[in-house]
């Protein structure tokens, strides 16, 4: 579903009922110091080359993806080089989404400076402010597109430019050996560990 044909103004409009600041405050995840540290670092994209994004756009997208899959106890989108994955996707198999990115990013910086008049760009915001802005747009087509690309790149084969060092696969316990021995069932099933707790999640 491309955003083509949609008016630029509506592009960041929520499709669902908006979630207000109270929700944000109540659900604010515990951000670990590693993440804050990473966010406050100047973005090290200075030497990188991009095929589609301008350096400024790349910085914005990098910040966005680092909110979607943050760097905390384990590496996140930034370490997985997701901005490079998206840059490549936009000149290869997802060319038709270029316009969605250009428009979405313009509106993102506009929104950032509307909410925080001292900045002109999303990536200039501090971590919590970024989170607040993204929470405001989390039901928009643009956010969902970036989210889909971020997750896709994070868990895709590294040959597409993301999932650097296979950190996405490591996160979920997938290893990419092409032949697998254990755990078998059928003849020699392993006992299954018993546990009834589920960790993770905001709720």
């Amino acid at each position: 579903m491309g955003a083509q044909g949609k008016s630029r103004r509506s592009f960041l409009k929520k499709s669902a009922v908006g979630l207000g600041g109270a929700w944000f405050a109540a659900n604010h995840p515990q951000i670990l110091s590693a993440a804050e540290h990473a966010a406050e670092q100047p973005v090290t994209l200075q030497q990188a080359r991009f095929a589609f994004f301008t350096r400024e756009q790349a910085t914005e997208i990098d910040a966005m993806t680092a909110q979607i899959i943050p760097t905390d106890q384990t590496p996140g989108a930034r370490e997985a080089h997701i901005v490079h994955f998206i840059d490549r996707a936009l000149i290869t198999f997802d060319q038709e989404r270029q316009g969605d990115y250009t428009r979405g990013l313009e509106e993102l910086s506009a929104l950032a400076s509307r909410r925080f008049p001292s900045v002109t760009k999303f990536s200039d915001l501090i971590y919590d402010q970024q989170l607040q802005v993204l929470t405001e747009i989390e039901d928009t087509p643009f956010f969902n597109l970036v989210r889909t690309h971020t997750i896709t790149g994070f868990f895709a084969s590294p040959l597409h430019g993301g999932n650097h060092d296979k950190i996405g696969w490591e996160l979920v316990g997938y290893d990419d050996s092409l032949s697998h021995e254990a755990p078998f069932g059928y003849y020699d099933a392993l006992p299954i560990p018993q546990s009834t707790t589920v960790t993770g999640g905001d709720a």
Partner: protein, 568 residues
């Protein structure tokens, strides 16, 4: 003017799952066969374990004819049909058997006799109103020898449940009697598969490993499956999946009697003044050819089989080839496979290293395997607990209300649960109805300017009631196995474009309601045969391909046996 080629005995249009099987008995009998295939040869080096390519990008290929002729679809004839987003099938030598899941089922005996068996057991009036379902012109026993031939020629692994009436509790006790064991033992089970089987048993059900056209051990000079997990819409990089480009087609080529022409897009079946097929026209790039043949077999998959007939208009057949009874495109159905049920478990399922044809099946709630006296539907569904997971799709799992789907909380959730979710694949008996059909779209065309297929179809009460019933069973099974969350999908509505599309050239004795006779040859043009699920009048509750292939073999064998009657 197309270039006129040298005549051949038989031309097969489409070297896929069905056409690729029919070629073998014909070539072995010494008939000269030309296989015209729109796609190209692909081999294991083309099949990277790459989820972006297979699933995100839907398998881009050298030849993307399918994509170009995507059907339009609507639920009822009162609506305008829209082009579907993508076409699930593929173009290559081997056809969609290259990237299919390779579950390789025989139909159960009931599926051949839905009308008479329903009436016998429950009396009249139980076949849903508006359904055009008929008994097949023969029963399971007639097809058994061909199932057996295909299972060996292609290579199918599995566990027999009934050999000449002798039941084996390791297999499916509801299956029709087999002549002998599968040529290979079943694919292994994972510990989770074992646990699901145990749970099914404690509910009093009868779990068994499903049949797969995947080598479970070395077979026919190729190795066994390595369980690397990219079978779903991916070709096999170790040649363990038994697509026809590795099995029956090379064997047919070895006879010296089969010639395969690739990138050959057939556009029309030509007819003489008496209404017999004379051969086919095809294009390769900008060049046009006419391939004369004594007999024409079409095996282009349901949508293209129907389209090719409807496009082949002539003086004798003004509404399309073999369509003077108006039956081409009728009795269409696509399998009800939606209404999924998924679950979250409190332990890892170790499903990364598996394939969708590896798993536990339960047939207790399929077909007429249970008493329907007090139920308001006929038929049922097959429950299939497979072992299949890839990282991107795993990350798309529901968070079951545990928060938003991004950020640190989500990352922790997915780190723990990506390997703890499971989704059932549930196929249900689906019937043909008067108002579900295929025809040519009035406006949309492919790149050659030819109309694409228009699907008009929706699931009816009977399918939706099965869906509701089987979702209850699925939930029961998950909970018994220790699931901590279960969620259900919607019951489904419009049929859309499907990997399991049946009918359109239905097989039956009565030419008023069927396009082909009980051997698969046209009632109107005796030297036209049809291969594939478009001849099937019922779906059963399981995948179609092995049945398509058994029917293809039978049609080809009949052609060999009755060559003079058919070809001359």
């Amino acid at each position: 003017m197309p270039t006129q080629l040298k005549a051949t005995d038989v031309v097969i249009v489409g070297m896929g799952a069905a056409g690729g099987v029919a070629a073998l008995p014909l070539a072995e009998a010494g008939l000269e066969v030309v296989g015209l295939e729109a796609g190209t040869w692909l081999d294991r080096r083309d099949f990277a374990p790459d989820e972006i390519r297979n699933n995100y990008r839907d398998w881009p290929m050298l030849v993307d004819k399918c994509e170009d002729e995507r059907p339009t679809s609507r639920a009822t004839s009162a609506q305008t049909a829209n082009r579907v987003g993508s076409h699930p099938m593929m173009n290559a030598v081997g056809g969609t058997s290259i990237h299919y899941w390779a579950q390789s089922w025989r139909l159960n005996p009931w599926d051949f006799k839905v009308v008479s068996e329903t009436t016998r057991r429950y009396g009249r009036g139980r076949v849903p109103a508006g359904s055009t379902v008929e008994d097949w012109p023969f029963g399971y026993d007639e097809l058994e020898p061909y199932y057996d031939l295909v299972e060996r020629a292609v290579g199918v692994s599995g566990q027999a449940g009934n050999i000449h009436g002798q039941l084996d509790p390791r297999g499916n006790k509801f299956e029709g009697p087999r002549d002998r064991e599968f040529p290979m033992p079943p694919l292994r089970w994972t510990a989770f598969n074992e646990r699901m089987a145990e749970a099914a048993r404690s509910l009093g059900w009868h779990p068994f490993p499903g049949p797969a056209a995947v080598n479970s051990e070395n077979y026919d000079g190729r190795r066994g499956c390595v369980y690397h997990g990219f079978c779903n819409k991916g070709g096999c990089p170790v040649d363990a999946k038994n697509a026809t480009h590795l099995t029956t087609i090379p064997k047919a080529l070895d006879t010296g009697n089969l010639k395969v022409v690739t990138r050959a897009h057939v556009t029309k079946i030509e007819v003489d003044g008496a209404g017999r097929a004379t051969g086919v026209n095809y294009v390769v790039g900008n060049n046009e050819y006419f391939q004369p043949a004594r007999v024409v077999l079409i095996g282009c998959y349901t949508y293209e089989n129907v389209r090719l007939l409807l496009l082949s208009k002539s003086r004798v057949y003004p509404d399309g080839f073999s369509n003077n009874h108006g039956q081409v495109g009728r009795h269409y159905l696509s399998h009800h496979q939606g209404a999924g049920v998924s679950a979250l478990f409190p332990y890892d399922l170790d499903a990364w290293y598996g394939l969708p044809a590896q798993g536990v099946s339960v047939d207790d709630w399929a077909d007429d395997n249970f008493d329907h006296s007090d139920l308001d539907f006929i038929g049922g569904g097959n429950l299939w607990a497979m072992s299949d997971r890839r990282p991107i799709s795993a990350a798309g799992m529901s968070t079951y209300g545990r928060g938003r789907n991004w950020g640190s909380g989500w990352k922790r959730f997915i780190a723990e649960n990506a390997d703890r979710s499971h989704g059932f694949y549930i196929q249900k008996s689906t019937l043909p109805y008067e108002d579900n059909y295929l025809d040519l779209d009035p406006t949309e065309t492919d790149r050659l300017g030819m109309p694409v297929i228009r699907i008009t179809g929706q699931f009816k009460e009977n399918e939706l009631r099965i869906a509701k019933f089987i979702q209850d069973k699925a939930e029961e099974w998950y909970l018994e196995a220790g699931a901590i969350e279960v969620s259900r999908g919607g019951l489904g509505n419009a049929m859309g474009a499907s990997t399991h599309a049946y009918g359109g050239t239905r097989m039956g004795e009565n030419p008023e309601t069927n396009v082909v006779d009980s051997w698969g040859f046209s009632h109107e043009a005796p030297n036209l045969g049809v291969l594939g699920a478009s001849v099937m009048g019922t779906s059963g509750a399981r995948n179609p391909t092995l049945t398509s292939q058994a029917l293809s073999w039978r049609t080809a064998q009949h052609l060999v046996d009755a060559w003079r009657d058919i070809a001359e």
